[in-house]
């Protein structure tokens, strides 16, 4: 498709880019201003760059604790999801046994499940297991509920790989585990990146389950940690904004590193919807 008036297309695309980026960039600039500057002059460059805002936010909030907790939750969840969902997807995509399709649909059905539907029993379950205020509770929930989407995507990816390599390996006497580990996993690596990124974002940004399960300040993730930080420093935006930037940076950095591959994968039909 070629536009007759490309300037019009670019114009509209740039406008939305500004609407999206503007507030985020403004947030970054504002975080360097002093409180008076934030309130009296919310637009425009800072007249002086107050890096001390960051130092102060860092020492006054338990940001490091929240960041470490969130990193543990996100990394452990993503690794477990990638490993378990790719193993399951390999079996579902490659082995034909009775119930195969049923298991696939069973995983898929979780996609339409609202969080509220399982929140109360999960809260009770975690309480009975003694996992309230323990990061493991949130990790287990993310891994379990992350299976639906991940299995769905990976099954579709694996079905698109030609069988030849695996058949050749089988003739050479490779075990199914070797085929999965040496052939299938390397071939679906780009898709694992996509699945991993989406689950990382979900885990890092997750709000509801940390809210109901993690109330001990030492076990909080950034989502709830920032909530309590704001509770203490209500309108001290010169402290809040640096804190907001700090907890946003990890996902943004991970996304920017992965974005080329991610965007290409998504638009190349990674998600056939």
């Amino acid at each position: 498709m070629q536009a007759k008036r490309p300037w019009l297309a670019y114009g509209l695309l740039v406008i939305w880019a500004l609407i999206v980026l503007g507030p985020l960039i403004d947030m970054l600039l504002l975080s360097f201003k002093d409180l008076a500057g934030i309130v009296s002059n919310p637009l425009g460059l800072p007249t002086q760059w107050n890096f001390s805002n960051y130092a102060q936010a860092w020492t006054q909030g338990d940001l490091l604790v929240y960041l470490i907790n969130t990193a543990i939750v996100s990394v452990v969840s993503v690794v477990a999801i990638l490993l378990f969902s790719s193993m399951a997807a390999y079996v579902i995509a490659r082995f034909h046994f009775p119930g195969n399709q049923f298991i696939y649909l069973f995983f898929l059905s979780g996609l339409a499940l609202p969080i509220q539907m399982i929140a109360v029993p999960l809260f009770i379950l975690m309480r009975d297991l003694g996992l309230v205020d323990n990061l493991l509770s949130v990790i287990l929930i993310y891994v379990g509920s992350g299976m639906s989407f991940s299995v769905f995507l990976l099954v579709n990816f694996i079905r698109h790989i030609p069988l030849d390599l695996e058949e050749a390996a089988l003739l050479d006497g490779a075990s199914h585990f070797q085929i999965y580990w040496r052939i299938v996993l390397p071939l679906i690596r780009p898709s694992l990146g996509t699945v991993g990124l989406l689950n990382f974002i979900t885990a890092w940004n997750g709000f509801f389950f940390p809210l109901i399960l993690l109330s001990d300040p030492n076990q909080m993730t950034v989502a709830v940690g920032v909530l309590s930080f704001v509770g203490q420093y209500a309108t001290e935006w010169n402290l809040l904004l640096p804190a907001l930037i700090i907890v946003t940076l990890p996902t943004v950095v991970v996304f920017i590193i992965a974005s080329r591959q991610f965007i290409r994968n998504m638009t190349a039909g990674a998600i056939k919807l």
Partner: protein, 295 residues
């Protein structure tokens, strides 16, 4: 089988089993402590659907969720589809740059989006009121988040702003698959841009459009984070932003503005919300299947 084991086990324990437990809890009068013994049949459901005390809360929340869905659907269609179409008309490398930018707010934690916009919309001192004043548009300087009529649409627009990246990517993926020969044929036949879009392109990507509608519906009924953070458990002002998610939270876990509390009642509420989502998804998935064109 060993390969399926861990995935299946975790999914059974932390998704399937809680789902069934919800159905069971919803039949009891239970506050979450002690044994489940006060079996009351469907009373939690009738209380939610018909009682004078509680059903107005439920139906208002459902109406707010539907409103959320309609607004997000309109914005996704107008903005998302248009931008995806425009992205197809430009150089691919630049198009990827735009797509990356558009996706960015999706990776920003909701807590950050909520506070950032609370600050912008702060009456009088926030960036938006200051901006409006400097443009001599004082009449538009209203308390967006404190007004019973504006709070809900404001949050719905913010949600759409933050989430637009995903439908754009999905639409682009669908548009790429529209065969070029069809478009060439249309041009040869003298069809204009609008005609080509509505007669050829849209019918081909219609299944994708329905999928996005389904995801929007599920998303709208799951709305919680921004409302809870910006308007509190009471989903203020005066319940003007109360959705099934916040009503559920209050019913299950309490908090300011709670009218009725109980784990059994909360699960009944969740089951009803789930039934609404299931019915809508079934209809939309059906429409989607019928819209698939064989090329």
């Amino acid at each position: 089988m060993v390969f399926l084991g861990p995935a299946l086990l975790l999914y059974l324990l932390f998704v399937a089993y809680p789902f069934l437990s919800s159905l069971r809890y919803s039949l009891y009068n239970w506050n979450g402590v002690g044994p489940l013994q006060d079996f009351i049949g469907l009373q939690n459901y009738t209380y939610t659907l018909f009682s004078q005390d509680f059903s107005p809360f439920f139906w208002r929340a459902v109406a707010h969720n539907l409103y959320f869905f309609l607004l997000s659907m309109i914005l996704t269609t107008l903005i998302g589809l248009t931008l995806a179409y425009l992205l197809m008309t430009i150089n691919e490398r630049r198009s990827r740059w735009f797509q990356t930018i558009y996706f960015l707010p999706m990776v920003v934690p909701p807590i950050v989006i909520a506070y950032l916009w609370s600050m912008y919309l702060e009456p009088d001192s926030g960036t938006i009121p200051v901006l409006l004043d400097s443009l001599h548009l004082q009449s538009l300087n209203v308390p967006f988040l404190g007004s019973t009529t504006l709070a809900l649409p404001t949050i719905a627009v913010l949600q759409a702003w933050a989430g637009m990246g995903f439908p754009i990517l999905v639409f682009v993926a669908a548009l790429i698959n529209v065969p070029g020969e069809l478009l060439d044929a249309a041009r040869v036949d003298g069809a204009g841009r609008w005609r080509t879009f509505f007669s050829i392109i849209f019918p081909i990507i219609k299944p994708t459009y329905y999928t996005i509608l389904t995801l929007n519906f599920v998303g709208a009924f799951g709305a919680f984070d921004l409302i809870y953070i910006m308007e509190g458990t009471q989903a203020g002002p005066n319940y003007a932003t109360d959705v099934v998610g916040t009503l559920f939270y209050r019913t299950a876990f309490g908090g300011f503005g709670t009218t009725a509390q109980g784990m059994g009642l909360a699960t009944a509420l969740a089951v009803l919300g789930f039934i609404i989502v299931m019915i809508a998804s079934a209809i939309l998935v059906n429409l989607q299947r019928r819209a698939v064109v064989q090329l």
